[in-house]
């Protein structure tokens, strides 16, 4: 089911890092980002790979799964925060899975719809990404 393209592609011109260890879900996320006009970095499911991607190119936004094949995403999250990258956590866990200092970060529950991603991006846009992450 393809969603109608959002009239104002909120992610146009943004390079969005997708962190997800499951292929089908990562692919779906990629579709959503593209749908919202964004360019995709990744997707990647291993911490080492992701860190290498970030080192090569700092994304404008990152959508993060938390559990990566039994590995936690926090090392990535810290790295991204340090680089000032806004974060969206997309996970099957509820919001309580966010641990400090990320408990106030934007959180989406899977499965993620286009609208949910658009709203999350909008929330990031409303609040300064710096503030959210500081």
């Amino acid at each position: 089911m393809s969603e109608p393209a959002s009239p104002n592609h909120p992610l146009r011109g943004s390079r969005v890092l997708i962190v997800e260890d499951q292929y089908l879900i990562a692919d779906e996320m990629r579709r959503l980002v593209v749908e919202l006009g964004g360019a995709v970095i990744g997707p990647a499911g291993e911490v080492a790979t992701i860190l290498a991607l970030i080192a090569a190119e700092t994304p404008d936004l990152a959508v993060l799964d938390i559990n990566l094949n039994g590995e936690q995403v926090w090392a990535v999250a810290y790295e991204l925060r340090d680089r000032g990258v806004p974060l969206i956590f997309a996970t099957g866990y509820d919001v309580s899975a966010l641990r400090p200092p990320f408990e106030a970060a934007v959180h989406m529950e899977k499965p993620v719809s286009t609208r949910a991603l658009a709203e999350a991006v909008e929330r990031l846009g409303l609040a300064s990404s710096r503030e959210v992450l500081s």
Binding site: Y23, L24, D27, E28, Y93, D94, P111
Partner: protein, 1189 residues
């Protein structure tokens, strides 16, 4: 001798002094007021007279034995503008203040500073007032004033004496109810003034004024030179008025005493005082009394007393038996010290005897007021220097700052007022002590007094004189046993010495009327009587006779006419009359009797004393109506007859010569007899005289005895008073006792404890009604032995028990069970101790404990059951008392704690488990105990280091019962549950995300809705199958073969000819299983549609193996189709399956894949790393669930 106040300057000076004394705080006078509860109104009147005299400090000393306290005094004085102050230790008395002494301590004055000392004696035996007044006298001397309010009894006597001795002033309140002077213990008889209370303050003011103007001399040397002469004149007045000679009195003392009197009377000059002495007889008495104060002391002149003790006292006692009496007379005893000294010596001697005789000491003094002090028997502390500590301890009781002689001593002495100069002496005395009295007597008086002592003393009695006195004037009467020490022994004299009574020279004293007549016959010098006597000489002789001629009366000088006849004595006139007259008299009497007229016979010649005289006879009847006639016979002497006549007369009787001879013979005889009679009479007379003397002496003794009796009467009155008091007290006690008795009776009847009182012989003394249940007892059984009474309970050991208790005095307690009745009694046998603590029997009490014992047994049983239950339950249980102490802990609790019972029971929870303090569990228990509500909490236990559920229930006694259970396991599983739920949710959401992705991809590759439906349904089913299998395996792992077969079977492919599935058992985790299943689904779908399964000729081989490489174990799976007749070109619309195999598997599983469309069918190779434990081996324990994302 007084410093004459200069009239021009004295007044301003006095005023100036007054002002100065007002400004300075030190008082010029300190007034000690003795007060008690009874004198409160007097106290108010005393202070009701406005402001205090200037410069005077008042100190109210309270009698400590009654209720008057500071507050009451202060309240009483406040309305009169006085602020009473409680005395503080060390405080200095200040002028213009009113101080009140304490009730609980002993107040004295040192200089101007108060001293408060703890009282050693109970109230009433402290002599607080006397102690204070004595210290006041010593501290302030002439500036001390003692005020004794009425109604204080003998309190203050010693104090007043001390004040006066030191030159101070003593005032007593006038009391209308004061008893007469025979009650001589009242200090009011010692004081200088007795005034109504409202005049006392004024008198003190006057005294203070006077004192301010006159500076007393303390020493005769300081006095002006003319003083010596003036004092001598005063002594002269005293000698003439009192018979006491004070010329030898110590000069300084004499001077001080005179000066004190002058101060009291506010006389400035000695001359004025001498004038006062002359005009006011009372003042002589006052001065005399003052002079007698304080000249005596205990054991004065120790050597003499020592001699008395060694030589005299043993002789006095020697040979006396218990029934006898030793009488001692102490003259001039003054304030009694000497009398008590002798009493002490006597008592000390008597103490050595088994049956001591009775000793009576008559202590007399001329001045009754000094006796007041003697009778009170209270002396200042200063006597300690005269009396040895042993004697002080033995014969005195210390009361405050005074010593009081003990009753034993006091009762030996009888004090009475007696003037040796005037009053009759005491008699039958063994020892006369007259020390320092004679020196005050003139020589003349001494000469009279010493024989008095001789009279008083028994033969061999002793006389004890003062050091400067002797009896050399009367050496016949007394012989010295020790001249140096003036002890003499009475000598027996041949002539009984009769003392001359009275000896008085003064105007005072008792009137012993009549005694004077004995000593000096009265001279009869009246002229009238002389004239009468002369007239008698010239009057005729006459005789009065009755009708029988018996003589009734003779006049004088009838002898000439009478000549009693020989023979029996007769008063018949005819026998008595001269024989020459007899005949004519008879005739004349006859005539007068018959004619009742006067009969006369004249000129009778009668021979009288050798001459013949003419005698006329007249007989006249004396007629009294209704009475016999009496006659008066007159003899009238007519003078001698002349010769012739006489001859004639003489010749006439000659006829009867013979008769005369005979009569003369008779007459001689009669004369002889008469002579004998006269002699006899004279001797009788002598005897009578001597008897008279005896009677006189006896009379004196009676007088003495009477005096003694009077003294005794006083004593008896005071004893009677005491008895009244004691009686009242006893009556009160009897009432108390009766009430206590009644209480006891009621208690005994009301008590349900059966009690029997036995005496030492086991006889019943009394019992309580409840005993009826134990013994068949009735009131009539009192006095019967308990062993005779049938007991209703089986207690055969009763008698033995009682005897054992009586023997050992240790109580016995035993429980007596009667099996027949089913009763149990607790029997106690105790010794019965009487109030004087000797064993007067035994007390047996029976307490019915049947119900108690039963209840106790039941309670024990219930308790045991409960405990059993508590021990068996799975929960830990313990109980705490009100102070959080363990009273019980069940086995489970002890096990949980790892403690032994003795480590916790009886100890406080917080002591056993200090770590529990302030934990939630501990607070819960406290809250339950405090608020009385059950409290349940689940908390982390600091004791057990795990989760516990704890329930605390308050119990009735303020403690708590606590259950707790270790819930760590449950808590852990709950945690896991929660975790699993989260995981499940996560998985579901992931799968939904996967489904969404599949749906979108399927939608992308489907051309029609039907096609989409078919593909999507197939993929969803594959996913569902995997989930189904996964849910069947708790570990979340699936065997590879199962995935393969499930996928093939789902397409109804079960032809084993067409399919070959082989490989070692491999387990795949959820994530790998899901994507592998999807990939196999795509392969199978493709095979069914286009490949090996599209025709019967096709064949599929699914094989796998594992290999160990240097990166770890890897799985190699091969899907190989064969026998496919027409191998189409690579399927164009199977993009999803291919994408999944070629990109999905590498992305998700790190797999290497190969998909070939070779002739004969598709070949697919999948190689992926697997964990070592994925290879299923025997007993492989792979519990760890794989974590899928």
């Amino acid at each position: 001798m007084a410093r004459k106040p200069d009239p021009s300057s004295s007044e301003p000076r006095r005023r100036a002094r007054k002002a100065a004394s007002l400004a300075a705080t030190a008082p010029t006078l300190v007034v000690g007021v003795a007060a008690s509860a009874a004198t409160l109104p007097s106290l108010e009147r005393l202070f009701a007279q406005g402001p205090l005299p200037a410069g005077v400090a008042f100190v109210i000393s309270l009698r400590q034995s009654d209720g008057l306290d500071f507050a009451t005094v202060a309240a009483a004085l406040a309305p009169h503008g006085f602020a009473a102050e409680a005395v503080a230790d060390g405080e200095r008395a200040q002028a213009g203040r009113v101080y009140v002494g304490p009730l609980d301590r002993l107040m004295t004055l040192e200089g101007e500073a108060f001293r408060l000392a703890p009282a050693e004696q109970p109230p009433g035996e402290r002599a607080a007032i006397d102690s204070f007044l004595i210290s006041l006298a010593a501290a302030q001397q002439h500036r001390a004033v003692a005020v004794i309010l009425a109604g204080m009894g003998s309190v203050g006597a010693a104090g007043v004496t001390a004040v006066k001795e030191q030159g101070g002033l003593a005032v007593a309140e006038l009391d209308a109810n004061r008893p007469g002077p025979e009650h001589l213990v009242d200090p009011a008889f010692l004081v200088d003034f007795v005034l109504p209370a409202d005049q006392i303050a004024g008198r003190i003011a006057t005294y203070a004024d006077h004192l301010a103007g006159v500076q007393p001399w303390r020493d005769a040397a300081a006095a002006p030179p003319e003083t010596a002469g003036q004092l001598a004149r005063i002594a002269g007045i005293l000698r003439s008025r009192t018979g006491h000679d004070f010329h030898g009195y110590k000069h300084n003392t004499f001077l001080r005493r005179v000066q004190r009197r002058m101060q009291v009377l506010q006389i400035d000059q000695v001359e004025a005082y001498i004038e006062r002495l002359r005009t006011a007889p009372d003042e002589v008495g006052h001065l005399f009394q003052d002079l007698l104060i304080g000249v005596t002391q205990f054991f004065r002149d120790g050597l003499e007393f020592d001699l008395l003790r060694r030589e005299v006292v043993p002789k006095l006692v020697e040979g006396r038996d218990g029934g006898e009496q030793i009488r001692i007379w102490v003259l001039g005893c003054a304030t009694g010290e000497e009398a008590y000294s002798i009493a002490i010596l006597m008592q000390e001697q008597l103490a050595k005897l088994d049956r001591p005789p009775l000793v009576q000491i008559f202590a007399t003094d001329i001045d009754g007021r000094a006796l007041t002090m003697a009778r009170s028997g209270r002396y200042p502390e200063s006597i300690a220097k005269d009396v040895s500590p042993e004697r002080l301890a033995r014969w005195f009781s210390k009361e405050g700052a005074t010593y009081a002689v003990i009753k034993e001593l006091r009762e030996m002495c009888i004090f009475s007022q007696h003037n040796v100069v005037r009053d009759a002496p005491f008699s039958r005395i063994d020892l006369v002590s007259c020390r320092n009295l004679l020196i005050y007597l003139t020589g003349e008086l001494q000469d009279r007094v010493i024989p008095l002592f001789h009279f008083s003393l028994k033969p061999g009695g002793f006389l004890f004189l003062g050091p400067s006195e002797n009896v050399t004037r009367q050496a016949k009467l007394f012989a010295p046993i020790d001249r140096r020490h003036r002890i003499y022994r009475r000598l027996d004299t041949v002539n009984r010495v009769l003392p001359e009574f009275p000896l008085a020279t003064g105007e005072r004293g008792r009137d012993l009327a009549g005694r004077g007549d004995l000593a000096k016959p009265r001279a009869d010098t009246g002229l009238g009587r002389q004239a009468e006597r002369i007239a008698d000489r010239y009057a005729p002789a006459y005789v009065l006779i009755d009708d029988q001629y018996e003589t009734l009366n003779f006049s004088g000088r009838t002898g000439r006419f009478l000549e009693p006849a020989a023979g029996a004595a007769s008063l018949n006139l005819l026998n008595l009359v001269h024989r020459d007259l007899r005949v004519d008299l008879r005739a004349a009497l006859h005539a007068a009797a018959t004619q009742r007229t006067v009969a006369k016979v004249e000129r009778l010649q009668v021979g009288i004393q050798g001459e013949v005289r003419r005698v006329d006879l007249v007989v006249e009847p004396v007629i009294v109506p209704d009475a016999p006639v009496n006659f008066v016979v007159l003899f009238r002497d007519g003078g001698p007859v002349d010769g012739a006549e006489g001859e004639a007369v003489l010749s006439a009787p000659a006829l009867r010569d013979e008769h005369v001879q005979r009569l003369e013979g008779e007459l001689r005889l009669v004369k002889e007899r008469l002579q004998a009679a006269i002699e006899e009479l004279e001797s009788t007379n002598e005897e009578l005289k001597s008897s008279n003397e005896e009677y006189q002496s006896i009379n004196e003794e009676m007088q003495s005895a009477n005096e003694e009796l009077e003294t005794s009467k006083e004593e008896l009155q005071s004893v009677n008073e005491e008895l009244h008091t004691v009686n009242g007290e006893l009556a009160h006690r009897v009432t108390d006792l009766a009430r206590a008795n009644s209480d006891l009776k009621n208690l005994l009847s009301s008590t349900q404890i059966a009690t029997v009182f036995l005496d030492n012989d086991l006889r019943i003394k009394s019992f309580t009604p409840a005993v009826g249940d134990i013994f068949h007892l009735i009131d009539g059984d009192l006095g019967r032995p308990i062993t005779h009474i049938a007991a209703r309970i089986a207690y055969p050991e009763l008698a033995d028990d009682v005897r054992k208790v009586l023997r050992t005095l240790a109580p016995i307690e035993r429980e007596v069970a009667d099996l027949d009745l089913g009763t149990r009694h607790l029997v106690r046998v105790l010794p019965y101790r009487s109030i004087d603590n000797y064993i007067a029997g035994a007390v047996i009490t029976f307490l019915d404990v049947t119900a108690t014992v039963r209840a106790q047994a039941e309670a024990e049983e219930a308790g045991a059951q409960t405990r059993e239950i508590l021990e068996s339950i799975a929960d830990a249980f313990y109980a705490l008392d009100g102070e959080m102490r363990f009273t019980y802990a069940n086995r489970r609790a002890l096990e949980d704690w790892g403690k032994r019972p003795e480590e916790v029971l009886g100890r406080r929870l917080i002591d056993v488990f200090p770590c529990a303090d302030q934990t939630e569990a501990f607070e819960a228990q406290r809250r339950a105990a405090r608020e009385g509500v059950p409290v349940h909490v689940e908390t982390l236990s600091a004791v057990l280091h795990g989760w516990i559920a704890i329930s605390a229930y308050p119990d009735a006694s303020g403690g708590v019962s606590v259950y707790f259970r270790d819930i760590s396991d449950r808590k852990r599983s709950e945690e896991r549950q929660k975790l699993l739920m989260g995981e499940l949710q996560h998985r579901v959401k992931n799968i939904l995300a996967v489904v969404r992705s599949i749906a979108n991809r399927t939608l992308d590759t489907s051309e029609t809705l039907e096609e989409f439906a078919a593909h999507f349904d197939g993929r969803l089913r594959a996913l569902a199958r995997t989930q189904g299998v996964l849910s069947r395996h708790a570990e979340g792992e699936i065997e590879l073969e199962e995935i393969v077969r499930e996928e093939l079977l789902s397409h109804a492919v079960h032809d084993d000819d067409q399919i070959e599935v082989s490989g070692p058992p491999i387990r795949l985790r959820q994530k790998a299983a899901e994507i592998m299943a999807l990939a196999l689904h795509e392969l199978t779908t493709n095979a069914v549609k286009y490949g090996a399964l599209a025709s019967q000729a096709g064949h599929i081989a699914v094989t796998w193996r594992t290999t160990l490489t240097k990166e770890g174990r890897r799985l190699s799976l091969q899907w190989r189709e064969s026998g496919v007749p027409l191998v189409d070109s690579a399927p164009s619309r199977t993009g999803f399956g291919r994408d999944l195999i070629e990109r999905g598997l590498p992305y998700d599983l790190g797999a290497a894949t190969l998909l070939e469309f070779s002739p004969g069918g598709i070949r697919c190779l999948i190689e992926l790393p697997i964990p070592e434990d994925a290879l299923v081996v025997e007993d492989a324990d792979t519990k760890e669930a794989g974590r899928a994302t």
